[in-house]
Symmetry: C2
């Protein structure tokens, strides 16, 4: 194959990347805190499970070793590590052959947040775009993320996260977080079997809630139900949990009592490195 990138010779690893051509891969974003990865084993196991769903092989031991070396080399105290895998090329065309992957590990500063999740509630709105449904891909953190890109256009400066719903007006998740509601003492989070991404922190919250004897309901969460829930919070692997103060039809002081309790149980590192 002969290939040019922006008018010059292209690295074959880019020119042939099935991750680029088709999005044939998976990723995970991990929090780095005090030079260490947060929940590394759990994240890698979750990555491997997503990979398996696409008949890909995520080499967990290699990834753990490379992540450790990269962190050491870069001497990053606080930030994010993104692990991105895509299927090795085997001729042109969609047909996937073999599950071996290329591995891209990259370090990033923490994104800028408008507020500190530990003390201030997020303001969220609802994307006009409705998520499509594809059961074969739902829940997987794969590389086909154009819906998230489109939903992130025209993002107002005063908004911290944008919620995504399906065309039955059921909430699914945020563009970069999962969503939980608290209703009459129960934890309520959307099903992700037809759309959405199942974050690792969502799984941790569900496990912690079960261990604490908190009732959990994994069920459709209509947009209209926001006006009758008591608490709302977001989860992702960078900020952990973030109480919502304002959403369409919802207003509350945040974090609420159950959100606060779960934040303490999760014991996720604080957002501001300076506070450590």
């Amino acid at each position: 194959m002969t290939a040019w990138l922006d008018g010059g010779p292209a690295d074959p690893r880019l020119a042939e990347a099935r991750g680029l051509h088709y999005g044939d891969g998976v990723f995970r974003t991990l929090r780095v805190h005090r030079g260490e990865l947060v929940d590394a084993a759990g994240q890698l196991a979750h990555l491997a499970a997503d990979a398996r769903a696409l008949a890909l092989h995520a080499p967990q031991e290699v990834l753990a070793a490379e992540a450790g070396q990269l962190l050491q080399t870069a001497a990053l105290a606080d930030g994010a590590l993104k692990i991105l895998l895509w299927r090795k090329a085997s001729g042109r065309g969609y047909r996937p052959q073999g599950g071996d992957c290329h591995r891209l590990l990259s370090l990033h500063p923490l994104p800028v947040l408008r507020l500190d999740p530990a003390t201030a509630g997020a303001r969220v709105d609802l994307a006009a775009l409705r998520l499509g449904e594809q059961p074969a891909l739902a829940g997987i953190k794969h590389l086909n993320r154009l819906e998230q890109v489109l939903a992130s256009r025209d993002w107002p400066a005063a908004i911290d996260e944008r919620l995504l719903a399906n065309d039955q007006d059921e909430l699914i998740c945020g563009t970069r977080s999962n969503l939980f509601a608290v209703s009459e003492g129960r934890l309520w989070t959307p099903r992700l079997d037809r759309a959405g991404v199942a974050g690792r922190t969502r799984a941790r919250v569900l496990a912690l809630a079960e261990a604490a004897g908190i009732a959990v309901q994994i069920a459709p969460l209509p947009v209209a139900a926001l006006s009758s829930v008591q608490e709302l919070f977001l989860s992702n692997s960078l900020f952990g949990l973030w109480g919502v103060a304002e959403a369409p039809g919802f207003r509350a002081s945040a974090p609420g009592p159950l959100t606060r309790r779960l934040m303490q149980t999760l014991a996720h590192p604080p957002w501001k490195a300076a506070a450590c």
Copy 2:
């Protein structure tokens, strides 16, 4: 950003590529014949239209010039040129900022076909996977192609193309082609406003049919309708048109009379370079 690819330093153009991270881009595949691009202006215009739908800018003149230079440099007589564009990075995160693109142009040999489309009909089956629906992305030849990858698993050697349907059992397109049926003298092709990719050759066939006074119906095409149509054919920019001899519920000698007439009108280059 610090990044490693497969344990070594990663080219930032790969490590930061929004095409890789999100599939935030578009592509087009052009036929090369006798060292020339087939329908270059039309293809580039179609690419630019797809790009605009994602608020991207496809620099048509630059692309035409680079494609010409690449073809001259490589001295490729017959094959395929893939043009792939993705949005330039502007910080981490889904939010798209600006429409400028990176350009990847690559040359490839023609894929191996089991039969010559000029003389033998294709055998097609139906993918078990059902296409999801996303009106905001339907029709666009974008880089989120995991559905095509999943649908191409377990591809039998005796199958030339695989048809894709939605979950109402309406046919949408093939994994790498568009689909046309001929029913009582009319041309019938699926609507692509909720799923599927609108190929450039599909648009050319529709225009040729209109010019020739052939009635065209762009409407849902149920799988069950295959048993009552007289002709079926596939279109793509590499092989042009390919009559279907066998599909679920359908069997005919191919190409049929209207398919053959459209093949002659389209005057696409023959498949086998040796035959030129």
